[in-house]
């Protein structure tokens, strides 16, 4: 009691005064405590800004100048992640109104479209981001392949990326059923029967009775023999829970490995290619370097940054983070613009008795649909498996070092890619034109055994042509990388041309038409 009186007498602030002072300073102090080390003005605070933040510390503190050139990545990885972020945000919003039960589902989508405030806009953004994510993931894969960025020590991250591609397509496909309209119902019927298509082979071999892997796959996928309420709730579960969780886990591994594998791939002579840093670049180590890490243990082995100085690196904050923010904003802007001008489609409510004519899958599966129009098993399972396994094996078969980190790097280089593109386009157009004009085995010899029709069809012929061409390139340039460049380029050409044919040149009964205006009325 005496002390308080003494303090007051000494002319110090009263408790109320201090309280008011603290109250005034609270917002400022709150910001200070949120960011542990203050504003990023010096090299030291710039690094603490990155590693002192739980969301940013996956970045390295400094980034190589090579990785920051737009042409190194075109920002595709961050763009794909941005799409996923937008999809989660809009997806959660849609879940407020969506009800996963047949017919009710369709009505709830109608509600979202016509009644719910901003519902149509949010659904459109969700749809466009989903489409963009598929495109961007494919482009990202092409970028990594053409810059040979899958090479040691980044092999495993390429495989993780394959997993991400598969989960992305799975998310897109499961989302396709949810509106429960005609488009959804028949696309999923086709998809489920593709899962069942190993029966085409087991039937031909007469062993379906005791080994029916196709039937089992369809049963697990649909929970029934037909697309119905069981299938809808399963697809919903996959779309909002199982696959997003798998995607998040894979993204975590993917990002973490980028960091651990030494950042982005770059050529060995990147430093000489870049030349000395420009004057604008914040100079390296203007202050005495301070240890910013703690060593838990010293272990033997190589790490990606041993023996490399920081001279060609610049602080991630702001150089990398601003770039990422720019990509993020561009991605969102694009999906919002598309969402404003183009509505997500919604057809009539699903009718199990009458298929759409033509019944088309999502556009990125229309290349596959073109292949399954020749054989369900080879087109829907056989060839995609060959492609996926082939892509996954690339980093383990190409152990060369020439051209890492350079666009179209490696023996053959750009001329080889151009040649392969010409061959790839010519082959797929020739095969498709032949089939459209002259038909295939069954029309010529109706009694051909099914196994022959399954194994020898336009899709497998095209795969064979591409493989032969790739081996020819491999021998010509005496390089696995050259073979891989040829095969990958052919695969891209085949994918694009088949998708375009499936999208624009197939009409009712999957017949060929030069334009939809020639479709017969129905």
């Amino acid at each position: 009691m005496n002390n308080v009186v003494e303090k007051r007498n000494a002319g110090e602030e009263s408790a109320v005064g201090r309280f008011v002072e603290n109250l005034k300073a609270a917002p400022h102090r709150f910001t200070e405590t949120m960011f542990r080390s203050g504003r990023p003005h010096s090299d030291r605070t710039r690094s603490t800004f990155v590693f002192g933040n739980v969301f940013l510390h996956l970045h390295s503190v400094r980034t190589h100048r090579w990785s920051l050139r737009w042409s190194a990545t075109w920002g595709l990885g961050i763009a794909a992640f941005s799409c996923f972020f937008v999809l989660v945000a809009t997806g959660v919003l849609l879940m407020f109104y969506y009800k996963p039960y047949p017919d009710v589902a369709y009505l709830s989508i109608k509600d979202i479209h016509f009644v719910v405030p901003t519902g149509r806009f949010i659904r459109n953004i969700h749809r466009w981001s989903g489409n963009m994510m598929v495109v961007i993931v494919l482009l990202h894969m092409a970028r990594v392949f053409y810059t040979a960025a899958y090479r040691p020590p980044r092999e495993f991250n390429w495989v993780t990326g394959m997993g991400l591609l598969a989960v992305t397509l799975g998310l897109s496909f499961t989302g396709y059923l949810l509106p429960w309209d005609q488009l959804a119902y028949w696309a999923i019927t086709i998809g489920a029967n593709i899962a069942q298509s190993p029966r085409e082979v087991t039937d031909a071999l007469g062993m379906t009775q005791w080994f029916d892997v196709g039937g089992l796959q369809k049963l697990i996928l649909l929970g029934s023999e037909e697309v119905g309420e069981e299938a809808l709730i399963r697809f919903y579960l996959f779309h909002v829970m199982i696959l997003p969780l798998a995607l998040v886990a894979l993204i975590a591994v993917h990002f973490w490995r980028i960091r651990k594998d030494g950042g982005l791939a770059r050529p060995v002579d990147a430093d000489t290619r870049l030349g000395p840093p420009s004057g604008e670049v914040y100079p390296v180590f203007t202050e005495a370097p301070q240890k910013t890490y703690s060593l838990a243990a010293i272990v033997k082995g190589r790490t990606a940054v041993v023996g490399r100085g920081p001279e060609q690196t610049i602080p991630s904050m702001p150089h990398l983070l601003f770039g990422e923010a720019a990509v993020f904003m561009l991605t969102i802007a694009l999906s919002v613009i598309l969402a404003i001008f183009l509505d997500a489609p919604l057809k009539e409510v699903a009718n199990p008795a009458v298929p759409e004519n033509p019944a088309k899958a999502p556009w990125y599966f229309l290349g596959l649909q073109e292949l399954v129009s020749h054989s369900a098993f080879m087109g829907g399972i056989g060839i995609p498996m060959i492609v996926l396994i082939g892509l996954g094996l690339i980093p383990y078969l190409d152990r060369e070092t020439e051209g890492t980190g350079i666009w179209f790097g490696g023996p053959g280089g750009r001329p080889l890619v151009v040649g392969s593109a010409i061959f790839g386009l010519a082959a797929v157009v020739a095969v498709e034109a032949f089939v459209i004009r002259f038909g295939w085995i069954r029309q010529w010899w109706p009694n051909t055994p099914q196994l022959v029709v399954t194994l020898v069809n336009p899709g497998t012929l095209l795969t064979f042509l591409y493989a032969v061409y790739s081996v020819w390139c491999l021998r010509k340039y005496d390089s696995t990388r050259a073979g891989a460049l040829a095969l990958f380029t052919c695969f891209v050409c085949g994918f694009v041309v088949l998708t375009v044919i499936g999208s624009y040149f197939r009409g009712p009964n999957w017949d060929f038409y030069w334009s939809p205006s020639q479709w017969p009325g129905h």
Binding site: S197, D203, E230, P352, A359, V372, G439, R442
Partner: protein, 165 residues
């Protein structure tokens, strides 16, 4: 420099390394049993999503064949994927579910056309063109008297099986 005097090929003693040290063996056994436990746990859990009772609607239904159906003209009962034909006194039913990827084929004057991937079938259901691996199955039909028939979409019969009305 001294070198260790190595005993020349004596009987194995406890001091010599075993083919696989006991600890390594136990360690491996522990890992493999953990992996086996996970595998069988996963397989056991996978029994749940494989439905034991299928919720599919009944595939048997009664149908009254209208007298107006002419010979060779398909009659498709509403909501069903079966085309019923009259051929004089003979009546038969052919499934309209495409054997390729499960789309519903359309009965036309020349046979059946699939809208999804262009398979074409003859009047008797056999494949003419396209990716379908098998012909359309004929399904079981029972005559219940008068114009009433019992159709079982789930039960295939040999092509050419008819019932006499």
């Amino acid at each position: 420099m001294t070198t260790d005097a190595k005993p020349t090929q004596t009987a194995r003693s406890r001091l010599e390394p075993e083919a696989m040290p006991r600890r390594d063996f136990l360690g491996l056994a522990a890992w493999w049993s953990a992996a086996a436990a996970l595998l069988f746990g996963f397989l056991g859990a996978m029994r749940l999503p494989k439905a034991a009772v299928l919720p599919s609607p009944s595939k048997k239904f009664k149908v009254t064949l209208p007298a107006s159906v002419a010979t060779g003209q398909p009659y498709v009962p509403a909501g069903r994927s079966v085309a019923i034909y009259k051929d004089g006194a003979n009546v038969y039913a052919i499934s309209t579910v495409c054997t390729h990827l499960g789309c519903i084929v359309k009965a036309t004057d020349s046979g059946f056309d699939c809208p999804c991937h262009g398979s074409k079938f003859a009047k008797d259901g056999s494949v003419l063109k396209g990716p379908a691996p098998k012909g359309l199955p004929w399904v079981e039909l029972k005559h219940l008297g008068g114009d009433i028939f019992l159709v079982d979409e789930g039960k295939a019969v040999a092509a050419g099986t008819t019932v006499i009305a």
